[in-house]
């Protein structure tokens, strides 16, 4: 019991620290209005071009691997909204290389908060607000136009899936970022992962044949971001080369992948060598 109380008090302290650090980060970022607006426009442009791409494609082809325009648009919107749940709270993770190279992590070690918490609250990722605007906006529009017959249960599943999808992306990026403690620079590896997710996770992934799909589910698990939960909502689980229950519990995939990523990150912090600045 005493152990449980101690753990809870550590979690409470971390939450308090993250609240303070996040508030400071966002206040600092919001002071510069022009950069605030240009960052939001940039965030919308980054993901919006993919939406345009899909829109133009479907206006000519109307069906991808048996999925009609409205359902592909819904799948894409789920991916965009899930991405927002990664970049808004965890977008600062992108600066991990810089924090290590400049010796900022030395200071993190001295403060009474976890390294991961300080890395993700290092600055407020303004561009992420553009991602959120586009993600939630498109989900609000395309969810209604999809062929899903909405019930309160399905709405709850969608919310869980989108948060879970964000955690999948966060977990994958956290796992890759952990290598920075040994390799110093992993930015190109993380851009590679981000680019692959941005370009391809909004498609019906079974189009990449059985082995391609299994790789994108169990090796590079981007199927959990939007595709698996979308098949559940759209009643398309019969297309999956895996068991249906995997799609049913797919929102939980985020928790598992994030836990693996975070555990690995914390373990890799032991490998940190100060640059000596």
């Amino acid at each position: 019991m005493a152990e449980l109380v101690r753990t809870w008090s550590v979690v409470r302290e971390d939450l308090r620290a993250s609240r303070i650090l996040l508030r400071a980060g966002w206040r600092a970022a919001l002071v510069y209005r022009a950069s605030f607006l240009s960052a939001i426009v940039g965030g919308v442009a980054l993901q919006g071009t993919q939406l345009l791409f899909i829109g133009v494609l479907l206006s000519k082809f109307s069906v991808i691997d048996g999925w009609r325009l409205n359902d592909v648009a819904f799948l894409f919107a789920m991916r965009l909204a899930a991405h927002a749940f990664y970049v808004v709270p965890f977008g600062a993770l992108v600066m991990i290389d810089y924090s290590i190279q400049q010796g900022e992590v030395d200071r993190y070690l001295l403060r009474p908060a976890g390294i991961y918490l300080q890395v993700v609250t290092r600055h407020a990722p303004l561009m992420a607000l553009g991602d959120a605007l586009l993600g939630f906006g498109s989900l609000a529009i395309f969810a209604g136009q999809s062929s899903v017959s909405w019930t309160p249960g399905k709405v709850a599943f969608l919310i869980a899936a989108v948060i879970g999808g964000g955690l999948v992306e966060t977990g994958m990026q956290t796992f890759l970022a952990a290598f920075s403690f040994r390799m110093t620079s992993t930015i190109s590896l993380r851009i590679l992962a981000d680019d692959t997710i941005t370009r391809f996770s909004g498609y019906p992934l079974t189009m990449f044949n059985r082995w391609g799909f299994l790789s994108l589910t169990f090796v590079f698990p981007m199927a959990f971001i939007a595709y698996l939960p979308a098949t559940m909502l759209l009643g398309r689980t019969d297309q999956l080369p895996t068991a249906t229950w995997l799609a049913a519990i797919s929102p939980c995939g985020g928790l598992i992948i994030f836990t693996i990523g975070l555990t690995f990150f914390n373990w890799m912090t032991r490998k940190y060598n100060s640059p000596g600045s």
């Binding site: 494609l57 206006s59 620079s185 590679l192």
Partner: protein, 271 residues
Amino acid sequence: MPVDTLSTRLTGLRGLYRAGYRSVLVYRADLLFGIAGLVIQATLTVVVWRVLYDGHDEVAGVGASTAVAYAVLAACIQSILMPWQFSSLPLRVLRGQIGVDMMRPRSLISQNLAQAAGTMVGRLPVGAAGLLTGLALGGVKAPHTLPDLLAWVVSMVLGIANVMIINLLVSMIAFWTVEIGGIMILYRFGSAFLSGALIPLWFMPGWLQPIISWLPFQAQIYAPLSIWFGTRHGVDLLGTLALQLGWVLVLFVLLQLVWRRAVHKVVVFGG
């Protein structure tokens, strides 16, 4: 007193060109992940387009093999022409190193263009890896005739000049404001769409095609590739090349004008 001949001018710029490609080759891990990224992208792109064409012989007058080859070649060309950091100018303005650049006996424009050319040459292995992947998957088609190939070379050179000048023009916004992250992202992804790097103009909606065809971006990737696939002949081909050349000249004049304004805006940080 040293004479400023063409040879000495080129020697100075050659150093910056070398710095450009060395800046790519020195980060081997970045280069390797860049290569891996394009191999994955080319592979998945081929699959996506083939699945899209399932059950269609032609869409908008374009066959499956042409659409697949276009997507692969466009991705390869874009990976060379548009590296993630396509200009060092904004960072040099932010760090105050622009002061040193301006004291050099070569114009800032030629310094930056030489460095950008070097960066593109350094990224050739990335594009080559994507091309080999496309070839291995049977997703690349050669030009129909030798004249098409020669016309493509001319068109591609004009396309590269177009990209280099617009990249530098956009980077010069850094002289007015240092917070240009959002603008650079908007430009990067906007130009990718408008240049035909993501999707050829053949598939664009009818109302959008004339607008895009009068913008400078389509002269970067779509124009050379439409020549590669033999869709332009005679007057149409000459008109395409003339439009590309016209854009290069107009953009270069615009670059000079912006630079003349920018030089009065320079604030060197750091003292």
